[in-house]
Amino acid sequence: MLTALIDYESGNLHSAQKAFERMAADLPNEEVVVTSDPEVLRHADRLVLPGDGAFPACKAALVEKTGLYEALLEAVEEDAKPFLGICVGMQMMARFGHEYQTTPGLGWIAGDIRPIQPTDFSLKVPHMGWNDLVITGAHPVLAGLKTGDHAYFVHSYQFVLEDMTQRLAHVDYDGEISAIVSSGTRIGMQFHPEKSQSTGLRLISNFLNWRP
């Protein structure tokens, strides 16, 4: 099985790649590739959109690569290949992002990306560091994960969902911030599993084992 990490010149690709390779090594016949080649996306069995960056820049980079955006839509929308979005990659699943300007996202989950604006002024933005997850939904990718497990977050914008049944986990930061969202064969994580030590590695392994 081939897992493609999409290189759209954004994101901490190397660490995501290493974390996926580490977990893939424990499974039979698993291969991980970092690519911006549309053909590779068509042949891949699952796709990962990592993320680190500003929403408009990430979206522009995704669209600018010839054929990449179309291949992503084809793989995820038509072929229903399992998809994991990480951080901005998760936010890309929204209808719109409102970072700097309003930018259309992939529109896979009903909701918008809006700034984190705590009413408690002692709370800082970005929401940066380890926060404990509150698990509210069941999902194969969340196997073994429990409420109270910590994940590493670093973001200034948050996913505001319209349909809360699409939210599987949140954290508390002057209100609830969406941590894991899902819809069909697509799942997104606001935190960085590749930076969340054993908790994150478990989620990556679960994603590689997911056969929706």
């Binding site: 960056g53 380890w130 670093v154």
Partner: protein, 253 residues
Amino acid sequence: MLKTRIIPCLDVAEGRVVKGVNFVDLVDAGDPVEAARAYDAAGADELCFLDIKATHENRGTLFDLARRTAEKCFMPLTVGGGVRSPADVRNLLLAGADKVSFNSAAVADPDVIAQSANHFGSQCVVVAIDAKTVSPGKWEIFTHGGRRATGIDAIEFARTVVSKGAGEILLTSMDRDGTRAGFNLPLTRAISDAVSVPVIASGGVGNLDHLVEGVTQGGASAVLAASIFHFGNFTIQEAKAHMAAAGIPMRMS
């Protein structure tokens, strides 16, 4: 609830740790990757590498260091030292850093922060501020390891870089650095109150109460220390237990 972070910082030069890390089980105390692995296992919340002799010629060693660390440690990594441009940020992010720290280059041209944040997002752009007391309640920016005065007010500068898009401030008190007398708390509080982004307190930690004070009195979101951990005076878990006992939310393992 978001937890307060403990960040061990490793000063590196030409790919080696400047002060060896005194852990009993380390094969090579001078290898930053070995030290990073030890801190990963010890439950550190983040790691920081600062290249103190960064030059154009040895850029490659820092990229290589970030790359090798990211292969072994699945935890957040900040890298700084000689970072000048958005291209440096990109190269370090690609190598495996999660956050990149600007210092002198941000003083010379704060717009480099805006350029970097616009492209890579504020979340990965850290500005390291080295400040010295010039009169009571007044602090100025110093560059080049605290040797060069700039005449720039530290609070004003912190506000400027945050308005340009810095996502975090790594605040080092040059008066306290290396003294083990504790953080400069009035400075830490003044900067933390002046900006909306997280502030990492640095410089002067000698005991675990100092870590507590940095948060409770200084208002820091994270505390950075080097010697007390490297020399084995205290473990990360001892520090966390001490801070938790003082009522600070910590990630305990």
